[in-house]
């Protein structure tokens, strides 16, 4: 039963071209091994942030099989009573968490029979954290300090994420490259499981850095070459700062909009309950319509897999088509006359019921989203975005932005727009920049100087320097704006933003065909070096490609990727004569809001 349920949980990981379930299985194995190291009954104290990513690897049942009897959320003060032999802290290596752990350990009841403490650092062990525990005087209380290398977590059949929230900030603002080291390590793990990737392409400083580390790590482990036929043909490493524009734009795919509006975390979304409230009576006796409705979103759900990457304007039609099919299937019951036919019908019922409830959910979600996309506010905002992306009046103060500031719209919305204008104009005229800055500081508070300075350091916001605005050239050469984007039956990736083709994905597409040599000039206008490396394969592992067989490329977005970009890559994978299938990996799944937020100064003490 348990294993069946679990197999169901992860089945969607093995549907794709590359069986990502192998990676998940490896992660599970390591987890089991760790748990078995701490013999006896145990309680896990969780860093709450980790429960989401862990949920993608293992269910409670796995932990239970290995004598995990209690689980708590990490909190200050004294640990809850639990009659177990081991207390294991599952935490990210963060200093503030070390302080909490220290508090737990110090206030442990000395009169009770002592419990053994362990720490499991995820995704990596940290000497800095150990140092902190030492300073707090508790380091000696731990029997075991270990690390659980969870670099790349499989999110879907073609999607891996490190879910490292601060990766972009660390790389481009703090210049701390630790997360790049983890990236390289993660890629080494991937190669250990799926074979050496013969070709590496990259664009950007961080990409160069990661490639260097990988090549070096490979030299160091030269002895332990994996004898696995390579699954990936190519690795493409892309710096987020090569394409700062795309995440700033509002995503217009179904999944992208769900993320923009409600935020998807670890494959789940929380939605306002009203539209889902109707028929849920008789569930455990208590109805909780005030609690947000939580839904899991991945390709295991047939309908979702079908519509997630569509432009939202094409979702209504798809849902209604599906409704007709399901409806017809249910009608079949009237035609079932013989016992055999009835039996056949009944055997299909569970599947039909699932399809039905899936349809109900997505119809409700589509309604929620439609309320927003048809609002004047959404329309006006999108209009301005599209003006910027097509290069209209990007060198002037924009009235809509001014008005939005005057209305005290959320600061992040303002920052997204101002940054977008800056990126599309290759920097703002000093006078324009100063005007925006003054308006923002006057309306939202002077302390935001710090946030503005962060945005300037990462290049999202900048004054125009002497050089010419290169954005129009980039836009034209890479065909970033398509006049006739077809939302219903797309023929180009630009459908994901109703006209704008994400730069990052365009670069990926052009790499596959006709190759980057054709766009050397534009590549030089974008930040950071571009490069190509080859990794030697052990003899006998050279792949003999069948005629017409697709290539497999792993695209790694350093600093984050949006759902719309993922949709665009899936679109390329599915193109009939595309010739390449893409697996996507990233440091973090982002959208413009979460991204800009990660760059804001942490103003904990803000008075409002």
């Amino acid at each position: 039963m348990i294993s069946l349920a679990d197999r169901k949980m992860a089945a969607h990981l093995s549907y794709g071209r590359v069986n990502l379930n192998i990676l998940r299985e490896a992660a599970r194995k390591e987890l089991r091994e760790f748990l078995d190291k701490c013999a006896g009954s145990k309680a896990i104290v969780w860093d709450e942030y980790l429960t989401g990513p862990f949920g993608l690897i293992a269910q409670y049942s796995l932990l239970k099989e290995h004598e995990v009897e209690k689980m708590f959320t990490l909190k200050g003060g004294r640990l809850p009573a639990a009659d177990v032999k081991n207390i294991i802290f599952f935490v990210r290596p963060r200093l503030e968490l070390m302080d909490i752990i220290a508090e737990n350990v110090i206030s442990e009841d000395k009169l009770r029979s002592p419990r053994d403490f362990h720490i499991l650092f995820v995704p990596r062990h940290s000497l800095l954290c150990e140092q902190r525990l030492k300073e707090q005087g508790v380091l000696g209380s731990f029997i075991n300090i270990d690390e659980y290398i969870l670099d790349l977590i499989p999110y879907d059949g073609d999607l891996l994420s490190m879910e490292s929230e601060s990766a972009f900030r660390e790389c481009y603002l703090e210049s701390d490259q630790t997360s790049l080291y983890h990236t390289a390590k993660g890629l080494m793990t991937l190669q250990a499981l799926y074979g050496t990737i013969p070709q590496i392409f990259g664009k950007g400083e961080c990409a160069r850095h990661v490639a260097n580390m990988m090549l070096r790590m490979k030299r160091e482990f030269a002895g332990s070459q994996t004898q696995i036929l390579p699954v990936f043909d190519t690795l493409l490493l892309l710096d987020r700062n090569v394409d700062l524009l795309t995440p700033l734009a509002t995503q217009l795919t179904y999944e992208g909009l769900i993320d923009e509006i409600y935020g998807i975390t670890n494959g789940y979304v929380k939605l306002p309950p009203e539209k889902f409230a109707q028929k849920k009576q008789g569930e455990g006796g208590k109805d909780l319509p005030n609690e947000p409705k939580k839904l899991q979103l991945n390709s295991a759900e047939e309908l979702y897999a079908e519509i997630r990457d569509k432009n939202f304007n094409a979702v209504g039609a798809a849902l209604s088509k599906k409704a007709k099919i399901i409806s017809a299937a249910f009608e079949e019951r009237h035609n079932a006359k013989t016992v055999g036919e009835i039996k056949q019908f009944v055997s299909q019922l569970p599947h039909m019921q699932a399809a039905r409830s899936s349809l109900a959910n997505h119809t409700s979600i589509a309604e929620l989203i439609k309320d927003i996309t048809t609002s004047e506010a959404f329309f006006d905002n999108l209009t301005v975005e599209q003006e910027f992306m097509t290069g209209v009046d990007t060198d002037k103060v924009n009235t809509y932005i001014e008005d939005s500031i005057a209305q005290k719209d959320p600061l992040i919305k303002i920052l997204r727009l101002v940054c977008m204008q800056s990126v599309c104009n290759n920097g703002l005229k000093q006078k324009v920049l100063d005007h925006y800055k003054r308006e923002i500081l006057q309306t939202y508070g002077y302390e935001h100087i710090l946030t503005l300075s962060n945005l300037e350091k990462t290049g999202l916001l900048k004054p125009q320097t002497g050089t010419r605005n290169s954005y129009p050239t980039i836009r034209k050469t890479l065909k970033l704006w398509m006049e006739d984007a077809n939302e219903q039956n797309p023929n180009d990736i630009s459908y994901v933003y109703s006209g704008y083709a994400p730069l990052s994905v365009r670069l990926t597409q052009l790499l596959a065909r006709p190759g980057w040599r054709s766009i050397e000039e534009v590549l030089k206008m974008l930040p950071g070096p571009h490069f190509e490396e080859r990794q030697q394969l052990p003899a006998g592992l050279h792949k003999k490609r069948q005629q017409g067989e697709n290539r497999t490329t792993l695209v790694f977005f350093l600093g984050g990727v949006t759902y719309a970009e993922i949709a665009a890559l899936r679109f390329l994978s599915q193109m009939e004569d595309g010739g390449t299938e893409y697996i996507i990996a990233t440091t973090k799944l982002i959208n413009g809001t979460s991204w800009v937020k990660s760059l804001m100064d942490r103003l904990e003490t803000l008075p409002f």
């Binding site: 639990a82 140092q131 005087g137 380091l139 409704a323 019921q353 309306t443 508070g445």
Partner: protein, 488 residues
């Protein structure tokens, strides 16, 4: 904000842009409705097949997922705690632990990553004492003498693999720097930071900043480390010695956020003013200081006035919150609300605030309008927009577009006469008509059609007003007026 919809649609249709609109609004709506209908019409089988359908709690969490289980197991503990009643005194001596049957070595037959523990049998012997007074014990590694002469390279490797290592053997500056360079070339931030911590402990600030100047990567890690652990002072000195004065200034300025007391905050900001900011930031910080200074004065004064209970405005509209630490625009709004009409010499007067903080005309008008409209002070609204020219004629003028004025007035439930006055000032006739329709100002619509000499539109509009109403009569008399030269 109001924009004329028909206008916009023309714009979209004629320009090369594609707006994100539902091409066929009705069709789209109906298709969603239709799928909803279908869904609801399909019979619902209540007892779903347990084996096939994953159990999901109402919050959507699959039953058995980790976050679900935390709630579950945690709540069961709570109840068991309640059952327990008084805490039981544990009579088992804690030292029995040492004699307990389980073997620790069995826990760690795999590779160990516990860098600080030389051997597990040793840590076992410490267990009992440690749990009584953990803070008194130093971990073994700190005093244990290592008989090791690992090279920098070996040491870094050991650190990376979580094996026992010792940094104390690197005594000379030269050795320490070799170690640092080795860590940097291993590219492992974790190890770099650990080495830097050792260097920080064993070297003077001057030497560290001198040596890091030529080691960019190590320097970045060091700065990040100092930020993480909150070593503000060390960091400021470092940035200063590196000549990164603007960073230093911002970092220091940031500290004000940790000061809760407004007077201390004010003093702190005063000192910040002279820090080496970039020129425009310097102005902003100066403004920030001035603002807080003013807010403190206003707050003291208004609190007192409000307390006395003799001033109408405070009696009628008690202050909801203190004005301290609010943004300048909020402060201006406050001033327009409670201190409108005060002479320019007063710190709390709108005019003074506007001038001191160089608030743009647009922002000023919007804020003043918002505050006065909220108070339904229509007379103030009137004078806000009235200007006299040199001949003494008065004229209405607005830097924000009268359509927005109308919008704000309407949101504050302005009477029709007031709305009409500003509606008639909206220059774009189409926009004026659509706004007038939205706010049901018939006179404006009728007058506009008259001005446009559009007889046809007027006839159509007559169909929309009530028979025999004043509007109806007005239209009639216009249509019968032979003086007007209609264009159609």
């Amino acid at each position: 904000m109001i924009r004329s919809k028909p206008d916009e649609e023309d714009y979209w249709n004629s320009s090369k842009f594609r707006a994100f609109t539902f091409d066929d609004e009705d069709d789209e709506c109906s298709s969603l409705k239709e799928s909803k209908r279908t869904v609801n019409s399909i019979p619902l089988d209540d007892d779903e097949d347990e084996d096939e359908v994953e159990k999901v709690s109402w919050s959507g969490e699959p039953v058995g997922s980790i976050s679900w289980s935390i709630k579950e197991t945690a709540s069961s503990t709570q109840s068991s705690m309640r059952d327990q009643g008084f805490p039981k005194i544990d009579t088992t001596p804690s030292l029995t632990k040492q004699g307990s049957g389980y073997s620790l070595s069995s826990l760690f037959k795999g590779r160990s990553k516990t860098g600080s523990f030389p051997s597990f049998s040793e840590s076992l012997s410490e267990v009992s004492t440690r749990s009584f007074a953990p803070e008194l014990r130093k971990p073994k590694s700190e005093y244990k003498d290592y008989v090791s002469d690992w090279t920098p390279k070996e040491t870094v490797k050991r650190m990376q693999r979580g094996k026992v290592y010792s940094l104390e053997t690197f005594r000379s500056l030269k050795d320490k720097l070799l170690l640092l360079d080795e860590a940097v070339s291993a590219l492992d931030g974790n190890v770099i930071t650990a080495v830097l911590i050792y260097l920080k402990k064993s070297l003077s600030k001057e030497i560290i900043s001198r040596e890091l100047m030529s080691r960019e990567i190590a320097l970045r890690h060091y700065i990040h480390y100092l930020k993480e652990v909150g070593e503000q002072k060390v960091l400021l000195d470092l940035l200063k010695s590196l000549g990164r004065t603007e960073d230093m200034a911002l970092l220091q300025y940031r500290e004000h956020l940790n000061l809760k007391d407004e007077l201390r905050r004010q003093d702190f900001l005063k000192n910040c003013v002279s820090l080496p900011f970039a020129p425009d930031d310097a102005n902003h910080v100066q403004d920030h200081y001035t603002l807080l200074e003013r807010q403190i004065i206003i707050e003291v004064n208004d609190k007192q006035v409000e307390g006395k209970g003799q001033t109408d405005i405070f009696k009628k509209y008690p202050r909801k919150a203190s004005i301290l630490n609010m943004p300048i625009i909020t402060t201006l709004y406050y001033s327009c609300f409670y201190h409108y009409g005060e002479s320019e010499g007063m710190y709390s007067s709108p005019a003074n605030i506007r001038q001191t903080f160089k608030i743009s005309e647009k922002q000023y008008f919007l804020t003043a309008l918002g505050a006065r409209a909220k108070l339904k002070a229509w007379f103030d609204v009137d004078s806000l927009f009235t200007t006299k020219n040199w001949l003494g004629y008065t004229k209405k003028r607005s830097p924000i577009g009268f359509h927005r004025v109308v919008d704000i007035l309407q949101k504050n439930n302005a009477p029709v006469q007031v709305l009409q006055e500003y509606l008639s000032l909206v220059e774009d006739t189409e926009l004026r008509i659509s706004l007038a329709q939205k706010h049901k100002c018939h006179d404006i619509i009728i007058d506009t059609y008259k001005d446009l000499k559009d007889r046809q539109k007027l006839i159509v509009y007559r169909g929309k007003v009530e028979r025999g109403s004043p509007e109806d009569r007005k239209i009639d008399s216009l249509l019968n007026n032979t003086q007007i030269r209609w264009k159609n």
